[in-house]
Subunit: 564 residues, 2 copies
């Protein structure tokens, strides 16, 4: 009754599905055979958990940008790698605003961790759980499973580690504004984007009902975006495109009631971009009828309206239908963030590292070390320093204290010797410790906090994995700067962030881009650049194909309006 | 700064997006210009609601198979059409089992009602709300919006109608088994399918956690399917494919704990199919390790285990991880179903029609009308009937009482004259009323209830729309059978269901098919038939493309395992 013709086709598809990965991983595979054999054994979950292996055990918390890029780069032949995260997938967060309007589907921007595990030939383990306590003394973490605890009590378990990488991300900052948590949508997770999409369509359906007054229809179709940063602006632009490109045709009666507001506490939107971009975006938004409320601070959000203040108008309340909180500022700088040194090691905890939004690098101040710097540079212990004498450690100092170079640059100084000039502009030949301190007094003003972006997190993950991979090598041949306070050299160069530029999609197939070297451009061509960069940055060929085909689908059929 | 090269591309895409529809709808458009002009006016929501138009107002409740196929066929130049449904989309339900395992995405099988409205040039209105009361005396329905009622009190409104089409579907039948509603997943809506998908993956993640005993892992990976009908069998097969084709590679440790059970109260699965298909399916399932529990009746479901009885074993309790209720039986025949006549008119309500799962046709019994039939056939009032005399109304009688033909067929009778043979097999030349009654006594045993399937609902929607479109014509030239009890003829022929066959996908790219004319086949070729039929039956080119591309994606990349 059954023919077997199909099974051949199926086997061929199976082969296609596997081949590229095997080819790519061939080298890894030969290296990782030991791991692979080990992995086939029974009950290995508990075996590995006992930490009886010879390899050191690295536990990573979180599968965001930082965690995922660490995973991609860590050499699993050197470490037993374990991942604990409440989500079993990685999200390509820069496309979240696209998901809110259905330009891209939620599933197209997520990559299951299990796929990554499989591509690495099962070389690391994943557990879907949340870590609720770190015990650095006993090198143990305590986790809780969120996937239902009805069968096994509270679903708690503990995992020991040799090295712990914390990359759990951060919660959006509400600035303690009353009502924000209850009444606003956030845009951090892919579920948030799905909820926003559903909400927007529900607002349109509600506004189309026959029992509403004109006032009520307007209320329902007032979309308020809090925060004029890149995410807020991109979402407002996406929503405007969605409304005008798709929904206007599907809800022709209520189109005229739609109002999109962007509330920004500062004087302008997109302040982190070049002024030309800000100007272009503000003009474009005004032309399109997007209501820009700059210099407005949100003070309260109720289920019906949003209250804000402005120095001119005082407190104003606006009714809304759908409210979206898209502040860029995350919990950076607050006490809940883990402070690390420049090598991403959490201060005060041995063998614990923190990367991504949950971490902040506490850059060592020059003034804290100024006596030690003087001592290191003053090789002959003469009590005075000259430019000549300091030269042999200058490279190390620049590396250890990057604010020094920034300071020179921002003051148009050519080199260290400019710094040692006195107030009359005359170069001091010799400085004692007090004069040296005076000369460096302003340098630390250039210490900069890194933004909470995907770029930073991803680079930190890469950096840390590379450090781990060369741990042994660098132990013997340290490549970092000399230790100013201690002896010898640091094992690794400190983490240095390289800004690769930033995009701000403005809707209507126009995007603003600011690339290094002050390359600023806004327009349709930049939109294509955006398409190609975002397609190329996808985590896998699978998501790349999905995202590109979603763009194609939108192009042909428009966005879906099912309130699903 | 901005170039305009893109806008041309965009305009071209817009043109592509629109052209086919305009071409197709050109005729409709010219007919519907009055409607279109009307539609452009302000506040038309309330105007149409007042029913001031000259056209009769048809209100449809529900956007399932029945409602959607009515919508596709109704001539909007003849009626003002209004749709009220709690869902703003139509779901292609036969693909729901595919959504549960991610073979097809949820959005690929739904078509927004607004798209249908737009394709019909806005010729009808849609409101996302639920009807909670029908007032047939005042020809009014009372609706409640479920899209948030915080702004406008309770969100209730009423709509008046000239004709009402009820196609609200049915709730799954729990047979009052305790715990089923709380602890089982149903598979009626696309949201159900999404929840099942998430649950299945959560069960795998949970079973992979390090703190579980072997027993607990097994519990978590025991998937129980209640109901061995086509949906239950298809889901079990899909799940088996998902587990073995995709999850086994991603969760190699826990693969061995997976157990899929199908519980069926009857002696066999797929009882509505040919015995060969049942046998093939049962053997295939056994070979693959799917646990078939036939003759087991579920009596209780708790959050941990499921209790069932069997005449041999008595009561048994089995622990489970994920529990799925996929009974085919819907609320048919219970009091909550609307009874209609053969023209789909709800009994006792003027101008109210019911189609799809919410309705059941109360076929008029021959024995109820036997005296009237005798009178109509006995033209000369002689008090006796002969085969010759009855001939002139035989066609009408067969049409009015289809059970008559079924009875003849099931008793291998060639014609009406066979029915009139007496017990000795001799044809009676003349029958009086008592002999006539005796001859027809068993005929009504062949009255059959229609199954609650998409095919029935869809055909009913088509049929009713065609009746509405020819209302005026058929008023003057009735085409139905003669009225046995009254005068003249019925306006329309009664609804007659044409069974087009049925599929039962069995997994492993094999499908069972039973088409009319007893064409039975199981195998890979039938799977391809299934692919082509299901692709061709899609509601729009958009969903067709999406479904086919989903199949392609699965073929290349496998199914997604993100627990999203």
């Amino acid at each position: 009754m059954a023919s077997s013709g199909m099974s051949l086709v199926r086997r061929a598809a199976e082969a296609v599905r596997r081949t590229p990965r095997w080819q790519k991983r061939l080298v890894v595979l030969t290296v990782g055979v030991g791991t692979l054999t080990y992995a086939v054994q029974d009950n290995r979950v508990l075996q590995i958990c006992d930490g009886t292996g010879n390899k050191k055990k690295v536990v990573i918390l979180g599968t965001g940008w930082a965690g995922a890029s660490f995973l991609r780069n860590i050499d699993t032949s050197l470490y037993d790698v374990h991942v604990v995260s409440p989500r079993n997938y990685f999200t390509f967060t820069p496309l979240l605003p696209s998901v809110t309007c259905g330009t891209v589907e939620a599933r197209s921007i997520v990559e299951p961790v299990r796929n990554i595990v499989r591509k690495r030939n099962g070389a690391f383990r994943f557990w879907e759980a949340e870590c609720f306590k770190i015990d650095p003394t006993n090198k143990k973490i305590h986790c809780r499973s969120d996937v239902g605890t009805n069968i096994n009590g509270n679903g708690e378990f503990s995992v020991d580690y040799d090295y712990l990488i914390v990359s759990v991300g951060a919660r959006p900052n509400t600035f303690n504004t009353p009502g924000v948590t209850e009444n606003c949508h956030f845009l951090k997770e892919v579920e948030d984007a799905q909820k926003i999409r559903k909400s927007v369509l529900k607002c349109f359906e509600r506004a189309s009902l026959p029992n509403l007054s004109e006032e009520e229809r307007k209320k329902n179709l007032h979309f308020v975006v809090i925060g004029g940063g890149p995410t807020g602006v991109e979402f407002a632009a996406e929503l405007h495109d969605f409304v005008n490109g798709d929904l206007a045709k599907l809800y022709p009666d209520v189109k005229k009631y739609v109002n999109i507001s962007v509330i920004e506490a500062g004087g302008h939107i997109l302040t982190m971009f070049d002024k030309r971009i800000t100007k272009f975006a503000e003009e474009k938004f005004k032309r399109e009828g997007i209501d820009l409320k700059t210099n407005f601070k949100v003070v309260k959000v109720s289920d019906k309206d949003i209250t804000m203040t402005n120095s001119d108008t005082g407190e104003v309340s606006v009714p809304y239908g759908c409210n979206l909180k898209l502040e860029e500022f995350i919990l950076q700088g607050s006490r809940r963030v883990l402070a690390t040194d420049e090598w991403l090691r959490v201060q005060g905890c041995e063998d614990v590292y923190a990367i991504g939004d949950c971490a902040t690098i506490a850059q060592r101040k020059v003034m804290e070390d100024v006596a030690a710097i003087f001592r290191v540079a003053d090789k002959d212990n003469s009590g005075t320093l000259t430019v000549e004498k300091i030269k042999h450690v200058l490279g190390d100092i620049y590396e250890r204290y990057p604010q020094m170079k920034l300071y020179l640059k921002s003051n148009q100084m050519k080199g260290f010797h400019d710094l040692l000039k006195n107030s009359e502009g005359k170069e001091s030949k010799e400085l004692n410790i007090e004069e040296f301190k005076k000369a460096l007094a302003q340098v630390d003003s250039q210490v900069k906090m890194l933004p909470a972006t995907a770029q930073v997190a991803s680079q930190q993950g890469d950096y840390l994995a590379r450090c781990f991979n060369r741990m042994q090598t660098c132990e013997q041949n340290p490549e970092g700067p000399i230790r100013i306070r201690g002896e010898g050299r640091h094992r690794f160069k400190p983490f240095r962030y390289r800004h690769l530029g930033q995009f701000a999609p403005l809707g209507g197939e126009q995007t603003a881009a600011q690339l290094p070297g002050d390359w600023v451009h806004v327009g349709h061509s930049t939109q294509w650049l955006w398409y190609s960069v975002y397609a190329s940055k996808q985590f896998s060929w699978r998501t790349r194909m999905l995202v590109v085909s979603d763009w194609g689908k939108r192009f042909i059929f428009g966005r879906d309006s099912s309130s699903l």
